[in-house]
């Protein structure tokens, strides 16, 4: 009977299709990228090996430096503005009994929609004349702002749209963790006279620390790979002010035909992602003891 589960042909039949697809669309492109990254390939002519030239160029490239900075802004905005708000709203929702289902379902909704449709939708909201955002600000006498056409506003406009799309997703994630904490703990603290704020800060937040660190990690990962929303809303403009690493990589390779340079940029993005993950694992991720109630 043991032989049934030792049949190598059946084993291969189950494994091989997955491995072939995986190899073809993950491993092979990864290896190819490393190779292309060291060439000056433009997609048509011969590839010439150029050593580290692409990487050196990248770090002296004004626009690429700007796009690294924009990814950093994305990370800072997610971690220091979105995450506190997310925790705040999750605690608020966990404390109400009425309408809890409605809040949860509504805030989660934007995260199931396509980023490109959300980009189009917000592009309309940001329209200087027709959009409601200027219409609303106009009530307070604020003159029309050209949100997506002015360098100083475009990045903020994208950050707000991105937060609008993803905050609810993380709120629901944290909410689930809060609701898993036994009610008695909170009630006992309430009987001992702890205020709602004290209970949130000294009980709930420490108890859900593991999930908060997951949310921080996911936010950073999300901020590193952000691209669709930029391509749809501003396409990196005005004057490269909203270009992020991934969108610049796409522009340089597909639009400008610099495939060698583009893949070098993609390797840099990969390296950044690895470094951030490692840093995270060594710092916050390390002291993740399991919390027992």
């Amino acid at each position: 009977m043991k032989n049934t589960l030792r049949n190598p042909y059946v084993y291969l039949m189950f494994i091989v299709p997955t491995l072939v697809l995986y190899f073809l669309f993950f491993i092979y492109p990864m290896l190819q990228s490393v190779y292309y990254g060291f060439t000056d390939w433009n997609g048509l002519d011969e590839k010439n090996f150029v050593g580290f030239e692409n990487f050196v160029t990248a770090f002296s490239d004004e626009v690429f430096r700007q796009s690294i900075w924009n990814n950093v802004i994305f990370i800072l905005f997610s971690v220091f503005i979105q995450v506190p708000l997310i925790i705040f709203f999750a605690i608020l929702i966990s404390n109400v009994t009425k309408l809890q289902g409605l809040y949860k379902t509504t805030v989660f909704m934007p995260s199931i929609l396509s980023t490109s449709v959300i980009g189009i939708l917000w592009g309309f909201l940001y329209e200087p004349e027709e959009g409601i955002i200027n219409g609303f600000l106009g009530l307070f006498g604020v003159p029309d702002i050209y949100w997506l056409a002015e360098e100083k506003w475009a990045m903020l406009a994208i950050l707000i749209t991105n937060a609008w799309q993803w905050m609810g997703f993380f709120i629901v994630l944290i909410l689930a963790a809060i609701l898993a904490v036994p009610r008695e703990i909170n009630e006992a603290a309430g009987i001992d006279g702890a205020t709602a704020f004290q209970r949130a800060w000294y009980l709930t937040v420490p108890l859900i620390k593991p999930i908060i660190s997951v949310v921080v990690m996911l936010s950073i990962a999300g901020a590193m790979k952000v691209v669709d929303i930029v391509l749809v809303m501003t396409d990196g403009g005005p004057i490269n002010s909203t270009e992020v690493m991934a969108s610049y990589m796409v522009h340089e390779s597909i639009s400008n035909g610099k495939y060698g340079y583009g893949t070098a940029l993609s390797i840099i993005i990969f390296a950044f992602a690895l470094v951030l993950t490692a840093l995270y694992q060594l710092t916050i991720g390390r002291n993740q003891e399991r919390i027992e109630y």
């Binding site: 059946v10 990864m30 109400v96 909704m109 396509s114 490109s116 939708l121 027709e130 597909i254 992602a273």
Partner: protein, 276 residues
């Protein structure tokens, strides 16, 4: 603080948030019935009495939204189903069959894929589909979508299959089931909850995917909803009523599905991201 205020204050804050989510949709919905941009400016939240459905007819015919919609639907469904089945087969072989050393290595090897952000492979995948001569066909999306979902799917399904007790398969084998029979008749039905979760994660990911769809497909009749909608917006730049109509078309089906399956969808996506 009086108790009444204490009770209502959280609701006031939360309802403001809910309003911030819903108002954009409401604004787009109302604008989609307007006759001109001027009307949107002068009377953003008012309806003029007559609800003109002309915009809906016009957007439907001009933008071929039905074509984009159908393309998105069958690409997402087919690649998610194939991906889920491949992952289930692989997870079965890795967790239930007796090739323990090989399985360990293969499992680790597949999980490496989760470290690689999708964007990073974009150019090399573009070259690959170009060399395979499938650029501008739906194969160029079907294959990367299916492959892209494999690492996380294998991880989730394998975790679920490990929890299935051994006695069950021993009994089935005694009764004369082959390995394939065991997979199809016993393990697969038991794994359905995990498969549904994985299907939802993959389906939504593929349904909303923009980057590959935008650069691998340029033929209008093959475009998916996300890229088709952007193309539509770009060709009717300032015709806001039409653009709003397009948004309504592309958002409504998703919201209807969400209304029915919200619990399952929320559970599916959040599970996928936490374990991933």
């Amino acid at each position: 603080m009086p108790t009444a205020l204490k009770k209502t204050l959280p609701h006031v804050v939360l309802l403001t948030y809910v309003a911030l989510i819903l108002i954009p949709f409401l604004f787009v919905l109302i604008s989609s019935f307007k006759e001109s941009n001027l009307e949107i400016v002068t009377n953003p939240f008012g309806l003029t009495g007559k609800l003109s459905v002309d915009n809906y007819v016009e957007a439907w015919t001009k933008a071929k939204i039905n074509v984009y919609f159908f393309n998105s639907l069958y690409l997402s469904v087919s690649s998610s189903i194939v991906g889920v089945l491949l992952a289930a087969g692989t997870a079965f072989a890795l967790t239930r069959m007796k090739f323990i050393t090989a399985s360990k290595w293969i499992y680790q090897f597949v999980l490496i894929g989760m470290l690689i952000p999708g964007n990073v492979l974009f150019i090399a995948q573009y070259m690959l589909v170009r060399d395979l001569n499938i650029l501008n066909t739906h194969w160029s999306l079907f294959l990367p979508y299916t492959a892209g979902a494999l690492p996380l799917s294998v991880l989730l399904v394998a975790a679920f299959m490990r929890a299935i007790p051994n006695e069950l398969e021993e009994a089935s084998i005694m009764d004369g089931l082959s390995a394939v029979g065991l997979f199809v008749k016993i393990i697969l039905p038991l794994t359905v909850p995990a498969l549904v979760t994985v299907f939802i994660i993959n389906f939504l990911g593929n349904w909303n995917e923009y980057l590959l769809a935008n650069f691998f497909i340029s033929k209008d009749s093959l475009k998916t909803l996300p890229t088709g909608m952007v193309g539509f917006r770009d060709s009717y730049q300032t015709n806001y009523k039409l653009i709003c109509t397009g948004i309504v078309y592309s958002v409504t089906p998703v919201l209807i599905v969400y209304a029915f399956l919200q619990e399952k969808i929320i559970e599916g996506i959040t599970a996928g991201s936490v374990k991933g």
